[in-house]
Symmetry: C2
Subunit: 132 residues, 2 copies
DNA sequence: CTGTATCCAGTTGGATACTG
DNA sequence: CAGTATCCAACTGGATACAG
């Protein structure tokens, strides 16, 4: 029983190990809302309610939860203004901006390849897949 | 009650709408294993058991399920060889390879920025966060 | 070896109600 | 406005058993 090791030539990490930093980053982005929030803040600061309206489908709970997580990881800053009622503004930190532009590639990929994905899915569903 | 619209200047899509293609792509990648499988297959074809051993932590069920999804979307091909016992090989399609190299950026980002994320997290947890 | 099927615990996430 | 708290349904995903 040999162990497979795939070490990154530069960092020495093995991305496939549980302890690899990539896992933590992947886990952070791998939910329905995080990437969307990062994208939404790319164009600049937004208030809570603006984010909520812009990202179709987020519940208040999930938006709050997502923003807390991003804030915790230093990707987003939260600024409270003592107005009545209170105003809260969110923006990307430099770190958040760099991650955001990194995953921006996915967005571009989606636009250019979604037709192929859809076609493949249709073919699969009416062929090798469900033979119903 | 005005609606916020953020149309992509080139595609005319609004990424923040539920129907936007990006959502579907995001949803496909946004689980614990998909990205890892795509990465694992970047270096070439692998058998089921090789994938399983390489990706630390996947259960058989999840690996199968993830591979089926990838196959369905035309990102991975599955080849069965009638050996005894049976051999199954998985490889990336051109489409899968292009997505894989797109999200490769996340992996690189993780290696270069994980320290900042960890530091921010520690600071948050011992400060503004849990005041315990 | 490469699955499929089933059971079940744990997590996710929406709806709702309430607060400063 | 920007949350927090609670309840609960639905989904995720691991463990186990079995099959071609």
């Amino acid at each position: 029983m040999e162990t497979i090791e795939v070490l990154d030539p530069f960092t020495g990490y093995d991305i496939f190990k549980l302890a690899c930093p990539s896992r933590r980053v992947l886990d952070r982005i791998a939910d329905r809302w995080t990437a969307l929030v990062l994208f939404a803040l790319q164009d600049g600061t937004l208030r809570f309610s603006e984010l909520r309206r812009r990202i179709e489908g987020v519940s208040q709970k999930m938006l709050t939860q997502t923003l807390r997580g991003l804030e915790r990881d230093g990707l987003v800053t939260r600024q409270v203004f003592a107005t009545v009622p209170v105003t809260v503004e969110y923006s990307l930190t430099p770190l958040g901006a760099s991650l955001s532009s990194t995953i921006q590639g996915i967005r571009t990929w989606a636009y250019t390849h979604i037709d192929e994905m859809d076609a493949a899915r249709d073919a699969y569903d009416s062929g090798a897949g469900a033979k119903a």
